[in-house]
Amino acid sequence: MAYAFDFSSVLEYREALVDGTLKTLGLTAIGAVFGLAIGILGAVSRAWKLAPFDRIFAVYVELIRNTPFLVQLFFIFFGLPSLGVQINEWQAAILAMVINLGAYSTEIIRAGIEATPKGQIEAAQSLAMTRAQLFRHVVLPPALLKVWPSLCSQVVIVMLGSSVCSQIAAEELTFAANFIQSRNFRAFETYFVVTGMYFLLALAVRQVMIQAGQRLIARRAK
């Protein structure tokens, strides 16, 4: 059986693809920044047993890691309005991604913090640093540096996972694909192109993050 590919019918919709790509990237960027921030707070709470936050984060991490992302998204999108919190599809998508990444990065960063040699902490204490100074200057930078590759992978996973946001009509890349194939009836070509786009996006995001990490955290020339 011969299948005649016709990519021109996809390219007609390139504006929708570009727009979807930018929105996917935007979601990922916001999700990454706030998700990693929550991850740092969660990690220090759990690693240093800061009551009551360590318990709160433990419950949060288990809840998020043991439920599907799509269900979390629906929970926020359909659940919050029932509680009287008005929320649009983008707010719901961002919130879901931040919450999801926050949980996973809590565990990843915690591993980095717990790998800090005891001597480093004692050296900082003997220099009269407060716990906050010690965390900010001595514990956190090497911890992030150690787990940075894992964090980059997790951000890529969350970016790919953002495709389910199309289910609540957030017009990101997968939404654009669904829209295009419903117009041109060329599902194979459309998803062929979009698969390639996700693949390249994932490679690019990982590279950018690894470079940024070396600049921001390491601050040393290789």
Binding site: P117, E122, Q125, S126, P142
Partner: protein, 242 residues
């Protein structure tokens, strides 16, 4: 009045009574060598002096800063007491210069240029003025330990504690570190060092403190004690290491 005053200090690790009533006075400018077998309590004693170990009874006073058992706010004490560790414990993500500057910047809030100048002066003092921008993993063990000494000195402590600072070094690197300590002693810095370098203790120390089973078993002038140990335990200890 003594710069460091330790009075009836007791400490337990669980059921193990590791410090059994330590009394020790250290005058400004003295170099104290703490010696003894492993497990005799010498490192624990040293670590209580800047609050890395808590204690159960007695008290410690450094330059008027008094601490009691289970004290939690130790920062005022730690500003007066510097410490150098066996394993160097440099911060691996910072250059030698940044290691030396960090506490002066974040704890003492020193302006950046002043902190840089001070860090350079401290590195010069330990003979590493050209290593300001080197990272710890680019330095030898002896150089790392000298940076660690400069880092402690930058906080201008009244007392410097040295916890077996040459024990992790290759034999050929020991002397460069000891030479730095010797210079500090000559400058009149008050030093308390746990050491296995007996010749050094004898040459540089003003006072030798021999610990045995959690007590100060014998203390006095190093030359005299080495020549005429008063107790069989010290005699046997000196015999075992020569």
């Amino acid at each position: 009045m003594a710069l460091v005053h330790i009075d009836a200090l007791h400490k337990h690790f669980g059921s193990n009574h590791v410090l059994k009533g330590i009394d020790l006075d250290i005058e400004e400018g003295q170099v104290i060598a703490l010696i003894g077998r492993s497990g005799s309590g010498k490192s624990t004693l040293l670590r209580t002096i800047n609050g890395l170990e808590s204690f159960d009874d007695g008290c410690i006073e450094v330059d008027g800063e008094r601490i009691h058992p289970h004290e939690t706010d130790l920062r005022a004490l730690r500003q007066k007491v510097g410490m150098v560790f066996q394993q160097f414990n440099l911060f691996p993500h910072l250059t030698a210069g940044q290691n030396v500057m960090l506490a002066t910047r974040v704890v003492k809030k020193m302006p950046e240029q002043e902190a840089i100048d001070l860090a350079k002066a401290m590195l010069l003092k330990v003979g590493l003025q050209d290593k300001f921008d080197s990272y710890p993993d680019q330095l030898s063990g002896g150089q790392q330990q000298r940076v660690a000494i400069a880092r402690a000195l930058a906080m201008q402590p009244r007392v410097l504690l040295c916890d077996e600072i040459t024990s992790a070094l290759d034999p050929e690197l020991v002397n460069e570190v000891l030479a730095v300590v010797k210079n500090l002693a000559a400058e009149g810095i008050t030093l308390i060092m746990v050491t296995h370098e007996m010749r050094f203790a004898r040459e540089v120390g003003d006072k030798l403190v021999f610990m045995y089973q959690g007590r100060i078993h014998e203390a006095g002038d190093p030359q005299e004690l080495f020549a005429n140990p008063q107790t069989p335990e010290l005699a046997s200890f000196i015999g075992s290491i020569n």
